[in-house]
């Protein structure tokens, strides 16, 4: 898995002459024992603010990288000179925090962030406030838990009662358990609900069902309800991409939201909810959120090989944004370009050799329509591509249903989902969803170990709520 992480996270720049996917590997050859390499994750942000923009450490390395050579550097020169440039920057203090770069890399802190230093023991709490500013403060975590999960600050009496608790850590987790049941957290349009916004991409103008728009194509309330079902009540989060049931969200007379799963065929759903709302994929071909009508409608639309759909699934559920050169795992012989879109061009193939094999398993799920018409919308159809011969040519019929996800062959979309949820990328993406929601930024360099422990721990229980109980115990969460 370390190799996958390096490929996924370590693409340093976007153009053929600047893109240096070998950078992380060279970096770890130079520093095999530093935490970022032993934990298998060298983030782009080691050297970049966001590729291709360099951070202060990257700028110092860059200044020492083949000085005198014309820019942009070739891949060969970059590969040959990077190690020497790293050595040249070792003694510098790029972020000006008093610690040389090498000392920071060895300590697992960031040489580009002055807030990240190797020796937090230097901290002295001056006692000027209620908080322990040198480390985890359970009282501060208590306050945060109420704000983050209950949506309200604790009252003075609650804080005083907590201060007198015989086991503050236990009381903290009791508070979290209570808040995880709050409407603010788990209610319809609550905090977890809105965490799915960028994954689902709602658009009221084409919504069907309740609060339908003028062109009702699909109801994303189904997607949100399904998402909520997988994120709450200790349910297995892998159901996100593997479940074959449907979920309905309801709010009772007391204003309490519930998410109830049920099994229903497409025909039954059609009869009950009508054409503009029903889920058209039947149970055996369902793969959780991947086969929901809204997801297929809004991403596949009218395309034979649904690259946009695959890219969105990769981005939303595995954390890899191919548009930013993340998660590239080229497949030999790809892209085959069955639909004649020109993706074998040099400037395209680098990404499409990963993306196209990702997309093939989506190619049997109908979007809005094909070149022939609008029949069988949003259904699974083994012969779906016949409708695209007119627009995409005879070659489109050769598009296989089999694909490749992160180096693993999959026979169809159901297997795509099953393979995806077993990857570390899936777990990282789930933890990062909540980490970023609660801390408003990705993990800092010195927090990598705590973050990784959450990623690893998720494989023990597959429960988002259990992961959140672990998260609030981290120093990243509880240090004022």
């Amino acid at each position: 898995m370390a190799g996958l992480s390096l490929v996924g996270a370590g693409l340093l720049a976007p153009t053929p002459t600047d893109a240096q996917p070998t950078g992380p590997a060279t970096f770890c050859e130079a520093y095999p024992d530093i935490p970022a390499c032993t934990e298998g994750v060298v983030e782009c942000t080691t050297c970049h603010v966001a590729p291709p923009e360099l951070n202060v450490f990257g700028a110092d390395v860059g200044a020492n990288l083949a000085p005198g050579e014309a820019r942009p550097l070739s891949q060969a020169v970059f590969d040959a000179e990077l190690a020497a440039a790293l050595v040249a920057a070792e003694g510098l203090d790029s972020d000006g925090d008093g610690y040389p770069n090498l000392e920071e890399l060895e300590a697992g802190t960031s040489p580009s962030d002055p807030r990240s230093t190797p020796n937090p023991a230097d901290c002295e709490d001056d006692g000027a406030d209620d908080w322990n500013t040198c480390g985890y403060d359970v009282g501060y975590a208590f306050k945060k838990v109420h704000i983050d999960f209950c949506g309200r600050s604790p009252t003075l009496s609650m804080r005083e009662a907590f201060a007198g608790a015989s086991d503050p850590q236990e009381a903290l987790h009791e508070a979290l358990a209570t808040c995880l049941d709050s409407e603010y957290w788990r209610g319809i349009d609550g905090r977890v609900w809105n965490l799915a916004n960028s994954k689902i991409g709602p658009l009221q103008a084409i919504k069907s069902g309740i609060d339908a728009g003028p062109i009702p194509l699909a109801d994303y309330d189904d997607d949100y309800a399904y998402w909520m079902h997988t994120q709450t009540d200790d349910r297995d989060v892998r159901l996100m991409l593997t479940g074959n049931k449907l979920v309905r969200a309801t709010r009772d007379a007391d204003g309490i939201s519930t998410y109830e799963s049920f099994q229903r065929s497409s025909g039954e759903d059609y009869d009950l909810r009508g054409y503009d709302q029903y889920q058209a994929v039947d149970g055996p071909k369902r793969a959780g959120l991947l086969t929901h009508r809204w997801f297929i409608m809004s991403n596949t639309m009218f395309t034979a090989v649904p690259r946009t759909t695959a890219a969105q699934a990769y981005r939303a559920y595995l954390g890899y944004d191919i548009a930013r050169l993340e998660g590239l795992q080229p497949v030999d012989g790809e892209p085959a370009d069955y639909d004649g879109k020109g993706v074998q061009e040099e400037g395209c193939a680098a990404c499409h050799s990963t993306l196209d094999p990702l997309a093939y398993p989506f190619s049997r799920y109908n979007g809005i329509g094909d070149a022939v018409g609008f029949s069988d919308q949003y259904e699974y159809k083994a012969d779906r591509l016949e409708g695209f011969v007119v627009s995409d040519g005879e070659g489109v019929l050769d598009t296989p249903e089999e694909g490749v996800l992160l180096g693993q062959p999959v026979s169809d979309l159901v297997e795509w989902g099953e393979a995806a949820v077993e990857t570390e990328a899936f777990r990282r993406s789930r933890v990062l969803d909540y980490w970023t929601m609660l801390l408003r930024e990705p993990p800092r360099a010195q927090e990598a170990a705590e973050f990784q422990a959450l990623v690893d721990g998720l494989a023990d229980h597959w429960s988002i709520e259990a992961m959140l109980h672990d998260l609030i115990d981290t120093e990243a969460y509880g240090a004022p």
Binding site: R115, K144, I147, S153, G201, P202, L203, A479, P480
Partner: protein, 200 residues
């Protein structure tokens, strides 16, 4: 962060007598505890509004209505105060940086909510400002100041808090035609819009 009340009160006091060119004497602030991790986060507007409503014993929808109809927190200033609206506006997560109008929105909500509490206390059974409505004295203001801190910041007040809010009384005394109201609402707004109330 605690000293934000003192800072806010001194800023208000420094505005007194705008035509006076003489330098204002400002008491130095004691050192505040510094966060080592430097990860101070803004409360979502929804949370801040709920805290404000609870502290002032108002229903959430009562604290502020723009033009008398639009709920400030959920509608009029929803995005400005850190909220989202994905379906129609495409704002699928809180804006990364606060909008320039955010302080204005915060002030409007706080002034509305504090003013509403004062009017209700004056016209009915008082909840918060009763002591100064009975007798406008330093002792009464201290009681109100203490309750403002306890209710809005969920902690015990310090002497610095009390002194800062009492300082407001002297600072606005000559400019106010209704000193009881202006001090009450002003003190409430100062605490409600302090960094301690807005961030965590």
């Amino acid at each position: 962060m605690r000293h934000s009340i003192l800072l806010a009160a001194l800023v208000v006091a420094a505005c007194k007598g705008g035509g006076d060119d003489a330098p204002q004497k400002v008491t130095p602030l004691p050192d505040a505890a510094a966060s080592r991790v430097e990860r101070v986060l803004p409360k979502p507007g929804e949370v801040w509004g709920r805290d404000l409503a609870a502290a002032l014993a108002l229903d959430e929808f009562e604290i502020c209505l723009e033009l008398g109809t639009e709920d400030c927190i959920r509608e009029a200033h929803r995005i400005t105060l850190g909220g989202m609206e994905a379906e129609r506006l495409g704002v699928d997560q809180p804006l990364e940086n606060a909008l320039v109008s955010a302080p204005i929105a915060v002030d409007r909500v706080a002034i509305s909510a504090c003013g509403e509490r004062f009017e209700r206390d004056r016209d009915g059974i008082p909840v918060l400002f009763g002591p100064v409505l009975d007798t406008d004295s330093p002792q009464a203001r201290q009681v109100v100041s203490e309750n403002l801190v306890r209710r809005l910041l969920s902690r015990q007040p310090t002497q610095a808090d009390i002194d800062a809010l009492e300082g407001l009384h002297g600072a606005i005394g000559s400019a106010s035609s209704d000193l009881v109201r202006d001090w009450s609402v002003g003190a409430c707004v100062i605490v409600a819009t302090s960094t301690e109330a807005l961030f965590y």
